[in-house]
């Protein structure tokens, strides 16, 4: 039987507010356990929440960025369950009236196809603390630094049909969130986490199959692998005549398989009800308009502008806008160097190659945008050839000095003196009589070989265009 997959994603993003959602505690990453836990965060008797409006602004910012309906009256609810790292015994979240309603994301797939994936809603909620089981023998440690940090939970429609689409959706979400500067969205640090709902059904069926929820996946690659392995598992069960149980599963990357986390028997009844300690959050059109006015240029708009203003291909533009920092870097290189296409090649290939190889972020790059622009400018003004530029680029990684100084000190300056070049050309013509004859007999492509010989002789420094021209002249 042929199967089709239906995937829905729930993404938790830590909003990068300075203080927590309902208390003044700092949200700085990496502090000593429980040093960022106030009396409210510890749920001391008598303490009350005060809503951090910065979280609201960030949620609305996200909402307008994805063209979503904005809840003008959002209501917080209590979600009740017991766990030691949940100090109040309930999590404050938004159930029926989220701040962000229906919206959509457009993703571009590997084959160039575009797909619109619906966002059902995005709601604000508080994070739980952390339970540490390893370090304390026979006991568990509780760290409440994270408890009460603001999260935005973004729920997609079940419109994703394969792992590739899921990853494309996540990457797009990641890009937008980074553009909006509302979260670090670093999956490895947990500031972006993903729960994946997967079900399969016979191809063409209209009813959804029973889904499994794979919790807390912390990298794009694992999302992809977890979906593949879960789909295979479900397919095998169904094809053997079995049934899928609705349950929560976890993905084990080492074994590349999902396994059951909790069974239905202990399923929680969260007993949601409106949080009486907080008033509904009411905003008006003016507020939404103000947030909209402050939106930065978003990736789709920037991509269109790059194609238009810098004559880039759809693909190159897509790569360059995939992160805000990269796009900003590129734009400096393009405008300062005066050659947007050359800049695109250097940024998307050489620079990205360098960063990926070393696992660096743009901010870590030893080659700043202005320096790369100078390098490209030197190709443009014939100071160096494109090939020599690669050597200079390599030097620039460890040598912080000025681009021109590097070219000078390494003697890489292109030879453009026609006297010098004429010497090279004559020497090559003399050493290669057979090839010269072939050229004269009309075998045009031999010119490439002869240019190559000249370049070799000059250790790459001769201006190839000049060499080419002079060779032809001398062989006439």
């Amino acid at each position: 039987m042929e199967w089709e997959t239906v995937i829905g994603l729930e993404v938790h993003v830590s909003l990068s507010t300075k203080s927590k959602l309902f208390s003044g505690s700092s949200t700085k990453f990496g502090a000593q356990p429980n040093t960022q836990a106030s009396i409210f965060d510890c749920a001391l008797p008598g303490t009350l929440p005060v809503f951090n409006e910065e979280a609201l602004r960030m949620a609305v910012r996200f909402g307008v960025a994805i063209g979503a309906e904005i809840g003008k009256r959002s209501v917080f609810d209590r979600k009740n369950y017991f766990y030691p790292d949940l100090p109040k015994g309930y999590q404050v979240t938004q159930l029926d009236f989220p701040t962000v309603g229906k919206g959509a994301l457009t993703v571009t797939l590997a084959d160039g196809r575009e797909k619109v994936i619906g966002v059902t809603r995005a709601h604000i909620e508080e994070n739980a603390g952390k339970s540490l089981h390893e370090e304390f023998s026979g006991m568990s440690g509780i760290d409440l630094n994270r408890a009460g940090e603001p999260l935005l939970e973004i729920v997609s429609e079940p419109e994703i049909t394969c792992a590739e689409e899921a990853v494309a959706y996540l990457k797009k979400l990641h890009t937008i969130i980074r553009y909006l500067d509302i979260s670090d969205a670093i999956m490895a640090q947990g500031s972006m986490r993903c729960d994946v709902n997967v079900s399969i059904r016979p191809k063409g069926a209209t009813e959804l199959g029973t889904r499994a929820e794979i919790k807390n996946i912390n990298s794009f690659r694992f999302v992809e692998k977890a979906i593949h392995s879960e789909v295979a598992r479900q397919q095998e069960i169904l094809e053997d005549g079995g049934r899928i149980i609705q349950e929560t599963r976890r993905y084990n990357a080492d074994k590349d398989e999902t396994s059951s986390m909790r069974s239905k028997e202990v399923a929680n009844d969260y007993r949601y009800f409106p949080e009486p300690d907080l008033l509904p959050v009411v905003i008006d059109d003016e507020y939404i308009a103000a947030v909209t006015a402050q939106l930065p240029e978003l990736p789709d708009a920037r991509k269109a502008r790059f194609i238009e203003d810098y004559s880039l291909s759809n693909y190159d533009a897509g790569v360059l806008v995939s992160s805000r920092e990269l796009a900003e870097y590129y734009e400096i290189v393009a405008t300062s160097s005066g050659d947007s296409k050359l800049a695109a090649n250097w940024v998307s290939q050489d620079l990205l190659g360098l960063l990926n190889k070393n696992n660096w972020e743009i901010a870590d790059s030893p080659i700043q945008a202005e320096r790369l622009a100078t390098l490209i400018a030197r190709i443009k003004d014939n100071t160096i050839s494109g090939k020599i530029a690669k050597t200079v680029f390599e030097s620039m990684i460890s040598d912080e000095s000025d681009v021109d100084a590097i070219i000078e000190s390494k003697g890489l300056k292109q030879v453009t003196d026609s006297g010098e070049i004429e010497k090279l050309v004559l020497e090559v013509i003399e050493k290669n009589p057979a090839q010269v004859q072939q050229y004269k007999d009309g075998k045009e492509q031999v010119i490439g070989f002869l240019v190559g010989q000249c370049m070799q002789l000059s250790k790459g420094k001769a201006n190839p265009a000049q060499v080419n021209e002079l060779l032809r002249e001398k062989m006439q």
Binding site: I39, C42, A43, L44, P45, G46, T47, L48, P49, V50, F51, R78, N80, F82, P84, P87, K88, G89, Y90, S140, I142, D269, R271, Y272, F273, P276, D277, L278, L279
Partner: protein, 489 residues
């Protein structure tokens, strides 16, 4: 002087007739004599009280003067007090010392009051008789075989027995007004949002409100002046200017329209309470008031709605008492579930557990619509009833409780206990202010009259209460036993 009102003590302090240290010592002596029998205090802060009194006297010597400077008071043990035990009447918090002060506590401290101690209460404010406290029953000073009412029973008894000049309480369904009625003192529940809930241990967040228990309406006004006002730490506290509640106390009542809800004079009301309230209404008519009957059509639904909403909120509010971070933890838990189960089974008393169960049930999947949602709708209807009535009248007056205090141990059935608050609960559901003032004595026990006002119209209630107290002396009546202990004749 210990049987004087705050206003009188304040005047004596200002005149230099007495020092704060002296009056504080007098109350401490009184507590030492009577608390063993009454059990009104859980904690007495003798040393810190005398230090605070000394500081108040010094401040006065340095030219400072304010109405409550140096006045000894007691806080209900539901308010967090820094470095002082805060138990909420529960084994769960029997050893809990708060690292911070409730806003109410902070405001009284700033006003220069002297904290004598923390008063006994029903566990987590759940009860109408003060019999659910982990620290034992409080006795009614008028007759120690009787309950003082609850949940602010310790505060009401302390004020009535002159163990303090004034006390704070909290009122979720009648917990200030009913003990005020049973003990013969003046108590007031302000409008929801008038007084900050920060540091006041939550029972039912949407209903809880702190208020004064005092010897007169004037004293209650003086206390409310200090307690009220916006607090950014409580999102439900309301940003309204705090008026001087003493300013309009003496306004004449000529032409004031008093509503009398027929539902509050129906079946179940004892004859003596009915007679006392009727006599009071006659007194008001003499003062020029116009009495009108009003219809609170849905008031019969209030107890049912309340016993869904309040336990539902409580079931979540009390989840934090899990033995993990503070408070009671069971001995030698074998695992997490065991710790939760035994900590909460052993740490909470029967009534608290009953309400957690009711609330948990009411919020459960499949029951939410039928209970919680419906109760919220009823709440709306009850509020509409009051809104309608208040288009015709300025205040609403009726009995606080259907009868006088009952005997300790006499009500074993929870539902009959819940019906104790039949006249008071609707006020909480509607978020309105209301006071209870002494209105008579029957069988040697005091009776209370409830005065309900419009939202944020505390000043009018206090005016109506004060005028009654200017023309009658029910609020000055003392239990013969107390009078004897005072060494008076």
């Amino acid at each position: 002087m210990i049987n004087s009102t705050v206003a009188e003590i304040s005047a004596a302090l200002a005149a230099g007739d007495i020092s704060s240290v002296e009056i504080t010592q007098a109350y401490l002596d009184r507590i030492a004599t009577l608390n063993g029998e009454l059990n009104a205090f859980i904690t007495v802060c003798e040393d810190s009280a005398l230090l605070a009194a000394k500081a108040a006297d010094e401040a006065r010597a340095n030219g400072l003067d304010s109405p409550l400077l140096g006045i000894p008071l007691a806080h209900k043990d539901i308010f967090c007090t820094k470095d002082i035990l805060t138990t909420c009447g529960s084994r769960m918090l029997h050893d809990f010392v708060s690292p911070y002060n409730a806003t109410v506590v902070e405001r009284f401290n700033d006003a220069g009051t002297v904290l004598l101690g923390k008063t006994n209460m029903d566990e987590f404010a759940m009860g109408s008789s003060n019999e659910t406290s982990f620290f034992g029953d409080v006795k009614n000073p008028w007759n120690t075989e009787y309950v003082p009412g609850g949940s602010s029973g310790g505060s009401a008894a302390a004020v009535a027995a002159d163990l303090c000049a004034m006390a704070t309480g909290t009122d979720t369904g009648g917990s200030i007004r009913q003990p005020a009625a049973f003990c013969g003192v003046t108590g007031m529940k302000p409008s929801y949002g008038r007084v900050s809930r920060w540091g006041m241990i939550a029972f039912a967040s949407s209903l809880d409100q702190a208020g004064p228990l005092a010897k007169s309406a004037e004293d209650a006004a003086l206390m409310l002046n200090v307690m009220s006002g916006l607090d950014k730490k409580d999102s439900t506290s309301i940003d309204r200017p705090v008026e001087d509640f003493t300013a309009s106390l003496n306004q004449p009542l000529k032409g004031i329209r008093i509503g009398v809800p027929k539902q509050h004079f129906a079946e179940g009301l004892s004859r003596e309470v009915e007679q006392a309230v009727s006599a009071a209404l006659t007194e008001y008519e003499k003062l020029g008031a116009i009495i009108k009957e009003v219809d609170l059509t849905n008031s019969h639904l209030s107890v049912s709605a309340y016993y869904v909403v309040a336990p539902a909120e409580a079931s979540a509010n009390l989840s934090r008492y899990d033995g993990v971070r503070y408070g009671y933890r069971c001995e030698d838990p074998v695992n997490l579930e065991d710790m939760y189960k035994r900590t909460r089974s052993e740490g909470f008393g029967e009534e608290v557990k009953r309400r957690i169960m009711i609330g948990t049930y009411a919020l459960s999947a499949g029951f939410y619509e039928a209970y919680y949602r419906k109760a919220q709708k009823i709440r709306r209807l009850i509020k509409d009833d009051f809104d309608r009535a208040f288009t015709e009248v300025d205040v609403i007056i009726g009995p606080t409780s259907p009868h006088t205090a009952f005997k300790l141990g006499s009500k074993s059935d929870p539902v009959s206990m819940y019906l104790e608050d039949i006249y008071t609960i609707a006020v909480n559901l509607a978020g309105l202010p209301a006071a209870s003032i002494p209105v008579g004595i029957a069988n040697g026990l005091p009776m209370g009259m409830q005065i309900i006002g419009k939202y944020f119209d505390e000043a009018k209630i206090l005016n109506v209460a004060h005028q009654f107290q200017q023309h009658t002396d029910w609020h000055k009546q003392k239990s013969p036993a107390i009078t004897a202990a005072n060494g008076e004749s």
